[in-house]
Symmetry: C2
């Protein structure tokens, strides 16, 4: 079978560490090659993103926060939903612009999982509008099955062992 | 229970993508915070490392190749073993130097899995010589159980779906 080149749809899901971190590593690799890449963060959390935000600023990488913190605990759910919808509008604009080689939608599985966005509509839009050579990376727990079916490359990050259970603090630079 | 701060031993293992890439993301985060970090690559593969090597050069990140390519296919196994042992000597020097906040041993599970290095001896050395605050990251398939028992944070990257099965080429910037 002849090998073809195409933009991949990559999903990093699962309950373990490394979903966003692997997307950042991919951003670093792409930056090393001079590729045009941006990350949209659907769950904004300034503290948790501190290390990568500082790195992004230094490197001129585009990381855009579209969410409003740990949204599943929000008391103002209408606003949360509105922001997720707004984030998806920004994402659509970036994806269809043709300005990027890689677009990363970080924690984008959450608005899909909570059905703030309809996964079927999102995939239909992507099938019609994603430039064929654009790589799209989506991270987050609980990726819906429809998204897995649509994706080319899916990895589950599975927690085997986690130090939070042993009374160890989250570590700057390592976990955020 | 009071939370303590300590250097974590982190293992990224499993048959899926993202083990090395998450370590690179962690390197990017740490670099963003101005932390001192180095990566030793036990399976040297210039092509596969191209994106991160270019990025590392641009950023001044220290990435050191200690291996000799896809060593499990080497016809000169004595040399392969000798290079892995040499790599571990470099690793010991970096780990015990006190010069780093994070040391990454990329694909280090291979010399352990193939028993070129004795995992018990490696862990005994680490217990005695790793500075308490140093974060140590080890990546690669088939992490031995003794290593998992020793580690604080273990994630299995599990392949759910991979495009190589569908006749799609490996993609520059994304997979290497």
């Amino acid at each position: 079978m002849a090998k073809t080149k195409k933009g991949l749809v990559i999903v990093n899901t699962g309950d373990g560490k490394g979903k966003t971190t692997a997307a950042l590593g991919l951003m670093l690799r792409a930056w090393g090659r001079g590729m045009r890449v941006c990350m949209l963060q659907f769950i904004k959390n300034e503290k948790a993103r501190y290390g990568e935000t500082k790195a992004a600023l230094k490197l001129g990488l585009e990381i855009i926060a579209t969410g409003d913190g740990f949204t599943w605990m929000s008391k103002d759910m209408d606003k949360t939903v509105a922001r997720a919808l707004h984030g998806w509008e920004i994402a659509k604009e970036r994806i269809s612009s043709g300005d990027y080689e890689i677009v990363i939608l970080d924690e984008f599985t959450y608005p899909l999982h909570f059905e703030w966005l309809d996964v079927g509509e999102v995939i239909t839009w992507l099938k019609e509008n994603k430039p064929p050579m654009l790589h799209l990376v989506i991270t987050g727990c609980k990726a819906p099955q429809e998204l897995i079916d649509y994706a080319d490359l899916v990895t589950e990050m599975k927690e085997i062992k986690h130090p939070h259970n042993d009374g160890v603090q989250a570590q700057p630079g390592v976990e955020f």
